[in-house]
Structures are given as C-alpha cells and as structure tokens.
C-alpha cells in the first residue's frame, strides 16, 4: 500500500517557486532518503507534506485515503515529524513535552510510559525528565525532540536531519530505532547530509535539485549529490 503519494506538487513563497512537479510514492516499511544540495528544497518538501507550507498545486495523499485538502485533521494524525531544529517550548519540562505529544496522537498512557522509559534510557536522558529545555545542551534538546517524534506509531515519519547535534552513541541508537519503525510498518522519509549513514538505513533515494526531482531509485544506485548549477555570488 502506498503510505505517501505526491502528484505534481508545487510550492511557492513570495512569488518564487520553491518546489515544482514533485511526484513520488512511498510504500509501507520503506525508508526513503531525500538528498540534495543546500537549498534544493528538502526541508521545504517536508514542510509541504506536513502542511506547514501551503502547496500551490498538486495532491498529497496518506494511506491512499487522507488528503491534505479534504481532511486536514485526519491527515495530520498520520504524520509524525522530527524537525531539524527542536521546537520545544521553554515553559514545558521534558516530561510535559512527552505528554503533549502522547495526548496529541492519542497514545495510551501505559504505552507512553513504556516508550519513554525505553527511549530515555537509550538516549541517556532518564535524569532530565523534570528539566526545562533551556537547561539542556543543544544535543540533549535534539534527543528530547527525537523521542517526542518517535512516541506515536504513525504510518508516516518525516525526519529532517536526524543526526544533527547527536553524539555517536545517540546516532547509532537512532539508526536502530528508525529501522525498528520501518519493520513495524512505518514509512520513513528522511533528509541528511551524512550520506554514508543514510546509505546504511535507506532503501531508496530521491534527489532534489533546485526544487525538482532530479533522480530517484534504489539506494545502491546512489553515488553522491549533484552540485548546484549556479554559484550564489
């Protein structure tokens, strides 16, 4: 079953076209690497799929049933998102963030507690549950945000630069968790500049260049990203 399908999606901002004619599909239990140069449109595509950026054209469907345009609320329940920069609220503790995510996705309390115990142990955050994000290091905040995104079992998991700011142990652990999610049926779309690590996890790749899909296929066929056509200056 196609968990995610994009048909001719176009995104514009301030008169500029950021994404153009984006079409691809993802099956369940697949990990897809979204690669490309800086400014290619990877994060923009993630935000468009999430609904954070309004698409100008095209269609985005999850689970072959929910579209962004017809039923946004059901659509949102099927996506979990791990942003590049943590979106944590300074006024909520780590545990309160976990509770917020669990409540928003309807995760039962017993399951939430079990997952929190497992993930905080794996990321070495057991003693930080009552801390505010301001008192954590950048890497720890990223770990908290990662756990938040992994708490719900959604059909689709979007991850923007998952390994940014993590130490090598946390990166290995996260890699293991992503594989576990995929084994459980979740389709994972992730972006990363750490191409070697991505090659180990992903099944297929999509390469973006200047907001368009340049290439896609099995991960074994992926060599490296293309440079931007023009320099900035």
């Amino acid at each position: 079953m196609k968990i995610l399908e994009l048909k001719n999606v176009e995104t514009q901002l301030g008169g500029s076209t950021l994404l153009s004619k984006i079409s691809f599909a993802m099956e369940e239990s697949r990990v897809v690497a979204l690669v490309g140069h800086n400014g290619a449109g990877k994060s923009t595509l993630m935000k468009t799929i999430l609904g954070e950026l309004e698409k100008a054209k095209g269609e985005i469907t999850i689970n072959e049933t929910s579209t962004q345009d017809d039923d946004l609320l059901t659509y949102k329940e099927q996506i979990s998102y791990l942003p590049e920069e943590p979106l944590l609220l300074t006024e909520l503790t780590v545990m309160q963030h976990f509770q917020l995510y669990a409540m928003s996705y309807g995760v039962e309390e017993a399951i939430m507690e079990e997952k929190i115990k497992t993930y905080t142990s794996g990321f070495e955050l057991e003693d930080k549950l009552n801390e505010y994000p301001e008192s954590l290091s950048k890497g720890m905040r990223q770990k908290v945000q990662t756990i938040c995104a992994l708490l719900p079992d959604t059909p689709l998991l979007l991850i923007d630069e998952p390994f940014m700011g993590l130490d090598v142990f946390a990166m290995d652990y996260l890699e293991e968790l992503i594989r576990e999610k995929a084994r459980g049926g979740t389709a994972v779309l992730l972006t990363s500049h750490q191409l070697e690590r991505v090659k180990d996890i992903a099944d297929t790749y999509i390469m973006l260049q200047h907001g368009e899909v340049l290439d896609q296929g099995p991960i074994d066929d992926f060599k490296t990203i293309r440079r931007r056509k023009h320099d900035d200056h």
């Binding site: 946004l72 300074t90 006024e91 909520l92 309160q96 928003s104």
Partner: protein
Amino acid sequence: MITRKTDFRAYWLIRRGRFAKKKKVYKQVAAIVIDLTTAIYVAALVGYIGVSLFLTGNIIEELAPFFAFVEENASKGYLLLLSVLPIRYIVRSFQHPGLLFSTSEYQLGLLPFSREKIWAFILVEKLIKLLLLYSSIAALLILVTPISSSMIISYLTLFAVYDLVMVVPQWKLFQQRFWIKAGWLLLFILSNLIAVILETKLIGLLQLILIILAHIYMLPRLFKGINWERVTEISDYYIWNMLVVSKVSQTKFKKKKTYSILQNSSRRKRSFATKFSIYHRLWELYLVKNFGVIAQVIGAILLMLVALQFFEEWIFYIGMAVAIHVYTALCANLFHNRFHADIVEVLPWDLSMYKRTYFNWMAIGGGLLFLPIFSYFIRHWDIWAPFQLVFVISVFLYAYHVNMDKTIIVLAKKAGSLQLREGLSFVFIILVAISHMLPVISLTAIGIVWALYFQNGLKSVI
C-alpha cells in the same frame, strides 16, 4: 572622586551614540524608500491641502458642530478621565517598565557611575520629550480647531501629570508577578465602576492623591527587587525595534526567550494530571505571550464602555454592539493564530478540545468587559434591564461560537458554510445596538439561547 558631571557625561555619551546609530540606520532606509524629488512634491501638495482646508477654507466652520460636541463632552468627561487614566499605566506595566533602562545604561551602573542618577537622567529626558510633544500637540490643536485653548491645555496637562506621577508606580508594578498586577488592575476598574455608579468625581481626585502619596513609600525602594535582566531585555527591544526598518528590511527584532520566576516552582514542573491541564497550559503560555495585544484591545473596549456611559443612551448601546463584535473577532483571531505558532503547528489538532478549553480563558476577558455593562444596567434599572442583560450575554455567546466555528472550518480545511449563522449573528449584534428603542427585542434572547443549545450543546450556554 566621581562627580555628577561625569555621570551625566557618561550618560550623554551613550545617548549621543544611540542617536547617531539610529540616524545612520534611518538614513539608509530613507535612501531605499524615498525618492527626493517625489518627496518634495508630496510635501508641497500636503502643505497646500493643509493650508487650503484649515487656514483659507471653511472646513473649520463646517466642522464647528462636531467640535462643539467634542468640547461639551470633553468638559463633562474631564474628571472621569482623572479616575480612568491610571488603568492605562497598570495595563502597560504588564509589558513595559515605564522607563527604558537598556543594557547600555545598566553597564554604566556596573562601572563606577551612579545607577540612581542614570535613572533620573532617563526620567528627565523622557519628561522633556513629553513636554515638547504635548506643547506641539497643544499648539497644533489651538491653531487648527475652534476648541477653547483652556480646554486643550487642561487636557494635555492632565495627560502630562499622569505621565509624570505614574512612572514610579509603573516601574515598581512591572517587577511584580502577574497576579499582583491583575489585582491592582481589578481594584482600579472596580473603583471606576463605583465612581460611575455613584456618579461621584471625588474618586478620581482621591486616586491621584493616593498615587502621589505612594511615592513616599516607593521612592526609597526604587531599586529593590528589580529583575534587571527582564528590564534591560524589554528596554532593548523597545529602543531598537524600529518599525519602519523592520518593514523595509523584512526582518523582525525578536525579544529573547526568557522564562518567568514561576518556572522554577515545583508545581509548574509536575507531570500533567489530565489532558485538560495540558490544553489549559498551552493556552496559558500562548495568551501570556500575546498579553500585550489582548490587554490593549480589552483595555480600549473597557475605556470605551466606561466613557460612553456619560453620553446619550443610544451611543452606549452602539458601544455594546461594537464591543461584542470586536472582542469575539479578537477571540477567533487569537484561536486561529495559535495553530500557526510553535510546536502546536506540527502536531495533530483536536479542535473541539482546544475550543472547549479556550472558552474558559476568553470568559475571563469577556467577564471584565461585562463589568461596565452590568454597572450601566444597575444605574438604569427598569423592568427590561434583566432581559437586556441576558440578551447582551446571549448575543455575545452566539457571536463567539459563530466566529469560533467559522475559524475551525478554516483551520480544518473542511467544506462547509456558516452563512446563515453568520447572518444571524450580525442581525443579533445590530439588535443589541437598537434594543434601547424596543426593549421587547431582548426577549429574542430566549431564541438565541435555544439556538446556541441546539448548535453546541448545554456547555455552550453555561
């Protein structure tokens, strides 16, 4: 030994540098935005129009009845303003220390310069600027309008006196916790309501005397318990947040994220007991961040409702209709924007739960706005007054739910239209405005309550 002259020189150095820097930035903006030739022609045109209208034209004669109306009501409302004005500064104290003491001035205080003197220099500078501003406004109004110069001068003097006497109270209040400020605000609102109900102007005078006497207590404690980090952070923001520059450069000057003293209370850190507490906390955080805007709108509506009580009856009823429309629109706007702010934007939304928990917060603001309405009906009590009250409350609830449901349809991107309900809401608001002519209209309250119950269930009417 450090002399007064050196303190002033250090302060003046900071002020000159700040002025030079801002002047440079504004010059850069002007070079981008303004074409000199066009600007000269526009200035000449505006000057020509101004002279034609006000000095050689008869627009002043045509507007004479309006100015007479303004002057008559201004003289009636003068002592009322005396009691209402402190509310402005109390509301401001939630977001503004009253005096801008930036990081630069704070650094001077860390060096061997007197912080008290720096503070005093800032106050004197502020008062000189205000004096110049009010003098200019007075001169313009006296020149251009037929309103008596004594009336203009007395009003501007009142504003100037309050700007002076409320500096220290606002400075001290800014340091206090939210609930202390809210308590003082409520106290002053209540005293105003008593003044309105008893139709006494003494309360305003008493307030002013008490505020002046309170300086005996506050002045020796001026720098006690000051959260300098917060004062300098807010002051830096107000000094350097140049609106024109932000618009032209499309960059926003953001306040640094800091959290309040309450953050460290163990109660705030406890895990949420129920999902209601999570929603309430999300609303609390969001509304506190937007408190400035909320306080300004509610404050303006409150002032309008208090002031309009001294005008003709029909004006007050129009004021009530305007208050319902503006406040319910504010509620809907804040609700909509909540889902495009922070972490909530990327999470799934249970909009019915968000709406349900939101109502408790909006009821607080609505409750404040109903205080002057209650006092009006108490003063003008007749057989229809209780029906009128229920009618106004019902229309408020109906308009609120219509606005909220419309916002939810937009957020959820659902197909659907509320045209009929929106139309009804508009009609009911108009009926509030004209119900003084036909009090029997208030009996439609029964119909509105039924409609609300039918649409939203019992919880929407309690």
